[in-house]
């Protein structure tokens, strides 16, 4: 099977990820923060080391500002629900995933917040000045921006947007689900207040892992409260990170795998991974554009996209193309709306959606060739 569904979850994982998870189950056991025996200490060290590696990756000075969650969706829910209060106003883009839009729309429906949306162009690119237009007129507490679209792969210039956001005294939440590990993220130079990431995509960890970086000074309310192993004499939730947002036993085996995934990414270097994935993306886009009937979506400027590519083949429904690729060509990909209806509306592909290829760091040029051949065959055939 050729795996082009890395925007859903990455596959395969580095062997070190599986080995780290095995090592935890076979040799470490133990929970973090509760007991003081050596097995518990080892587990606590493992969690600490993963946090430190993530801090190194995102250039975070104090790793205690990273909170573990089960995925980017939980991180975004924590950031949105924990930060916003009744009467607040939010600005976001038309390229957001439902992991942002659903928590926001829920608060809007309950009459608690007002949402302002920056419309991206048909390539999925947002103009940073459009945020200034809103921020000039309205008091916006939070700006939520998808770093790279899971539909078009289009990258938002988060550093430029953040500069505008802070100029007007607002705060910046970045959804890095598609960029963490695949595109450089620097919370200091990008001026990010909160960064939501998942562990199982380009960080190459297992599902069930993710996190939220919270800049010092950002006051969040927890969405879950409970035991943390600290301040146990009190029945009041601790007010310090990471404990404030990590009640209950952590997914230690997942965090063990995530740590090994992040270590792998750090060893390879995000810039190198980015260059390799960009080469495959360029190669695919250049050749796919020549196939009759193939309509590509997303930015034409390669520097403004990650390795996520949406397209359609004329005469075919996206789901039919994905089915044919799976059945006849052993190619795994995703079709439909990709949980981002507004991004598809922006591109003009709503409601039918698109076929999505998402390349990862373990794909190679030979696989891209096979993908192109498959698309050409499907496009040329009268009927399957």
């Amino acid at each position: 099977m050729i795996y082009f569904d890395n925007a859903a979850t990455s596959f395969p994982k580095p062997k070190a990820v599986i080995e780290a998870m095995e090592d935890y189950f076979f040799n470490i056991g133990g929970s973090t923060g509760r007991s003081g025996h050596r097995m518990a200490v080892k587990a606590s060290e493992l969690v600490f080391n993963t946090r430190e590696q993530l801090a190194q990756l995102f250039k975070i000075k104090d790793s205690s500002r990273i909170v573990f969650t089960k995925n980017a969706t939980e991180s975004l829910n924590l950031a949105i629900n924990g930060f916003l209060e009744k009467g607040d106003q939010v600005a976001t883009t038309s390229m957001e995933h439902n992991s942002v839009m659903r928590p926001l729309r829920y608060l809007e429906q309950r009459g608690q917040i007002k949402i302002f949306t920056v419309q991206a162009n048909r390539e999925g690119l947002v103009d940073p000045e459009a945020f200034a237009d809103i921020l000039k007129k309205e008091k916006i507490k939070l700006v939520v921006v998808n770093h790279a679209s899971n539909v078009t792969g289009s990258i938002a210039p988060i550093d430029i947007i953040a500069e505008i956001v802070h100029r007007y005294g607002s705060h910046m939440l970045v959804d890095a689900a598609q960029t963490a590990g695949a595109y450089p993220v620097d919370v200091a130079s990008d001026n990010i207040d909160m960064l939501a990431f998942t562990g199982h995509k380009s960080l190459l960890g297992p599902q069930g892992t993710g996190g939220l970086y919270v800049r010092e000074g950002i006051e969040l309310s927890p969405i879950i409260r409970g035991g943390t192993g600290s301040n146990s004499e009190k029945e009041i939730q601790p007010d310090f990170l990471p404990d404030q947002f990590e009640s209950g036993t952590l997914n230690i085996i997942g965090i063990a795998g995530l740590g090994a995934g992040v270590k792998y990414v750090l060893e390879q270097g995000v810039s190198n991974i980015r260059q390799e994935e960009l080469k495959l993306t360029e190669m695919f886009i250049k050749e796919a554009g020549k196939i009759e009937g193939v309509e590509l979506c997303g930015p034409s400027d390669m520097n403004k996209r990650v390795s996520v590519i949406s397209f359609n083949i004329s005469r075919y429904a996206p789901s039919t193309v994905a089915y044919l690729l799976d059945k006849h060509f052993d190619i795994a990909c995703r079709s439909g709306l990709h949980c981002a209806p507004s991004a598809h509306a922006t591109m003009g592909t709503h409601p039918q959606g698109t076929v999505r290829f998402a390349f990862g760091c373990f794909n190679n040029a030979a696989e891209i060739e096979k993908g192109l051949t498959a698309l050409a065959e499907i496009s040329l055939k009268e009927e399957y």
């Binding site: 600490f48 600290s230 990471p242 404990d243």
Partner: protein, 72 residues
Amino acid sequence: MPQVVVIVFKSTHDVIKAKSELEKACIAHELIPTPKEISSECGMSLRVEKPLLSRALELFQSTGVRYRDDLL
């Protein structure tokens, strides 16, 4: 035998960070379950010999390890 001091930390994250910093600085220490008479915390604490305490605390302050000053 020199007197020993138990240092209690704000969170598990800080205990492990403290342990890692002490190891890097070659300051002898031992990780122990927090003694009941010091605090009702259910986590871990660090024990160091009293002559090493000031060096350890300086190290914690410079690296941002959050320890419980009130319980020293």
